[in-house]
């Protein structure tokens, strides 16, 4: 049922089940709030969202009274009401900007700040803190409180990944409601009363669910901080780039925080169709370490059992001369569910048109039982859907051929397949293995040529998640392939104004390339004459050749993703 309300003089038609704060936000009026969150239940305890609410005045007969000009007279409630729990009603009039409300907000801020410590200089939240922002926007800027503030425990490790500073807590209860309502593992609670209220875990438990770190993002202040990120950097020194988590096939939307060409933090980014506001702790903590550490910095060739770094041309010509020794049916091409659509598509084209082999497959990485109702999925790769879509076979079907020595050469995209002894033994039957890899691992150990490839944080491309949603990744870490300024990366203040000889612009830049580009170089070495300048060129070809990608483009995918054609009816 639709009702009509007026917010700050603007008439709005909306659904009657909504609250004033929702309707206001949807229509471009932001009402300051701490405890309300679109995904959590209404708690109404911070009182920051106070507004003036009125209804048309009616006479005894129930008719709306009008003034001399014929306009209906509004009768406001005697007290201000909180917008987050006031449901809209037909004819309702809401004021959000009058002096009365500004005064009320200033009073609420003054109360909240009474016991808030002057911690901003040492608080990780500073720069992205709601309380700090509101202190500028909605507060008088001076305290009249002359007594000692209440002291509470600081630096309480309430969970494996989360640190609590009780003095900074403004008792909004967002973190409590998140555990109760979203994760459904209640673990936090308030104890004590009045100004002694303290956030605490249930006796003998700690905040250790798989999503605990979302409370850090939810916390409007710096009461909950990440143990991992703690004190690593100020937010204003980092650049932020939209990306996708590669921890599992959900493909949670993320924001990558980079300083000095090093990833310091991943945070979830809102996408109602994929991950809402959340991401799991594993994804947040374990998917950027391999970008920063243990990298292959340059192509390598194995000579007499030892790797030596070499130039790209050398590694490419070595690969070509080796591959030419085998007949097409002896070559196996293995795609990677960790690489992008573009990488895998070009790999398949390379296999079919250049190597002329039909042996094209990939390996799944399923961890059985490791899933839950919220986000985490068993398939621990971000792009297996696309490989099936492109017609890559199941890798296990080719193991037999390897053991029978029918396969003598393997071209492998970024995937550490030699994780157990049986596969290592099997692969020892193969004469020549060439692999792309960003990191040193068991598989690169047994390869003959290793191309240093870019990680998801260093290239443009798309990934297709478990339900067939194609999502964009963009580079946030510079390699020799991409320049931060020239290639339009997100730039922090330090990136913009630092000179080349400043130490903080000297973060390591590896000589890595996007996999599709390496495949392009190898194919052209075989005389293929392919012309792709960007990942987008490859994507355009995917859209022309793969039915379910029809009519897609990077522009249409933008930062919310796009469902594959054939999947649209299922969702």
């Amino acid at each position: 049922m639709n009702v009509s309300i007026t917010i700050d003089g603007k008439k709005i038609d909306c659904d009657f089940s909504k609250t004033v704060i929702q309707v206001a936000q949807e229509n471009g009026t932001s009402i300051p709030h701490f405890c309300w969150h679109p995904s959590l239940s209404v708690s109404g305890n911070c009182r920051m969202c106070l507004v003036d609410v009125g209804m048309p005045k009616r006479n005894r007969e129930g008719q709306i009274e009008v003034d001399a000009n014929g306009n209906p007279i509004t009768q406001f409630m005697p007290k201000l009401a909180i917008a987050c729990s006031t449901q809209v009603a037909d004819g309702m009039v809401v004021e959000t900007k009058s002096d009365k409300i500004i005064n009320a907000r200033e009073a609420v801020m003054e109360f909240i700040l009474i016991n808030h410590p002057l911690d901003c200089p040492i608080c990780d939240e500073a720069g992205e803190c709601k309380l700090q922002d509101y202190a500028y926007k909605h507060s008088v800027g001076e305290s009249r409180f002359e007594f000692e503030k209440v002291q509470k425990p600081k630096r309480v490790a309430i969970g494996k990944n989360v640190m609590l500073d009780n003095e900074r807590c403004i008792m909004c209860s967002r973190c409590i409601r998140f555990c109760d309502e979203i994760v459904k593992e209640p673990s936090l609670v308030f104890s004590e009363r009045g100004d002694n209220v303290t956030l605490t875990t249930f006796p003998g438990t700690s905040l250790d669910n798989s999503y605990s770190m979302n409370t850090i993002d939810l916390c409007p202040v710096g009461a909950l901080t990440s143990k991992d990120f703690r004190f690593k950097a100020r937010v204003w020194d980092m650049s932020f780039t939209d990306s996708i988590c590669v921890g599992c096939s959900r493909g949670c939307n993320t924001t990558v925080g980079v300083r000095n060409n090093e990833i310091l933090r991943l945070t979830p980014r809102l996408n109602e169709n994929v991950n809402s506001y959340w991401m799991c702790d594993d994804g947040r903590l374990n998917t950027f370490e391999f970008v920063n550490k243990n990298r292959i910095k340059q192509p390598m060739i194995k000579r007499d059992g030892k790797f030596s770094e070499c130039e790209w041309d050398e590694a490419i010509s070595k690969t070509i001369s080796e591959l030419k020794r085998f007949s097409p049916s002896e070559i196996l091409v293995i795609g990677s569910p960790f690489a992008t659509n573009e990488d895998n598509f070009l790999l398949k084209k390379f296999a079919k048109q250049v190597l002329k082999t039909e042996n094209i497959c990939f390996f799944n990485h399923i961890v059985e039982g490791n899933k839950d109702e919220l986000l985490i999925l068993e398939d621990k790769t971000p792009n297996s859907f696309a490989l099936k879509e492109f017609g890559f076979g199941n890798g296990n079907n080719f193991l037999q051929m390897i053991s029978e020595k029918k396969i003598r050469a393997v071209y492998l995209l970024e995937d550490n397949i030699a994780t157990d002894e049986t596969i290592v033994n099997l692969l020892s039957n193969v004469d020549f293995i060439v692999t792309h890899s960003p990191n040193l691992n068991a598989t690169t150990q047994i390869a003959s040529v290793v191309f240093s490839s870019s990680t998801y944080a260093e290239k443009n491309g798309t990934l297709t998640n478990f339900e067939g949603r194609v999502q964009r990744i963009r580079p946030s870490v510079a390699t020799l392939e991409h320049d931060r300024a020239l290639d339009g990366f997100a730039m922090s203040r330090l990136d913009q104004f630092g000179a080349h000889n400043d130490r903080w612009t000297k973060g390591e830049k590896r000589d890595a390339r996007s996999s599709w580009k390496i495949i392009l170089n190898v194919a052209n070495g075989f005389g293929a004459k392919w012309k792709y300048n960007t990942a987008e060129d490859v994507f355009k070809e995917i859209c022309l050749n793969v039915k379910s990608f029809e009519n897609m483009s990077y522009a249409k995918i933008s930062n919310k993703g796009l469902l594959l054609k054939k999947m649209e009816m299922y969702v």
Binding site: C120, P121, I122, K154, R155, R230, F231, K232, R234, W236, D237, L494, F497, G498, N501, D502, R503, W504
Partner: protein, 166 residues
């Protein structure tokens, strides 16, 4: 109106000998010789700047040997020349939570504006009286904690001077 420039060719013979000009100049020299002297024999004769002077920024070292600084990076943020680089870290040893694991000022970038001193919430960075800075390479100009930390007692004057304006 632009004054017409006089070129050598425009001068007559007498003017070209410069004799009058030389005597004019020498008379000034002789007059000044007997007046009060303003120059000093630097560097033999040192100059002690007034307390309001902004010399190189230094960090205040507490009695226990640690810096006052809590690595809030406000000075690094406000520094118009981007001279300051800090890496914070957590500490459990002192009453504070964080400290600067690395604190470097690039003295080739510093313009001695004093903004860092003004913004610091801890009175941890102050402008010293030191103005003699010599480096022989770019790297030498980057002062780490070893060069920046100065015991509090030595900075007492400046700290008291700052108090007047708080």
């Amino acid at each position: 109106m632009i004054k017409k420039q006089i070129r050598k060719n425009d001068l007559n013979f007498f003017q070209r000998t410069y004799i009058t000009e030389i005597f004019k100049g020498l008379s000034l020299t002789f007059r000044k010789i007997f007046q009060k002297k303003f120059t000093r024999q630097y560097p033999e004769e040192k100059w002690n700047p007034p307390i309001s002077f902004r010399g190189r920024p230094v960090l205040v070292q507490e009695k226990n040997g640690t810096e006052r600084c809590v690595a809030c990076m406000l000075c690094a943020r406000v520094c118009p020349a981007l001279a300051i680089e800090i890496q914070a870290d957590e500490t459990f040893e002192y009453s504070k939570e964080r400290y600067p694991k690395k604190f470097e000022i690039n003295m080739l970038r510093c313009i001695f504006c004093g903004f860092c001193e003004e913004v610091c919430p801890e009175e941890a960075i102050v402008m010293s009286q030191e103005f003699e800075l010599v480096f022989s390479s770019q790297d030498e100009a980057i002062f780490g904690k070893d060069k920046l930390l100065i015991p509090k007692e030595k900075l007492q004057n400046r700290l008291e001077f700052l108090r007047q304006y708080r």
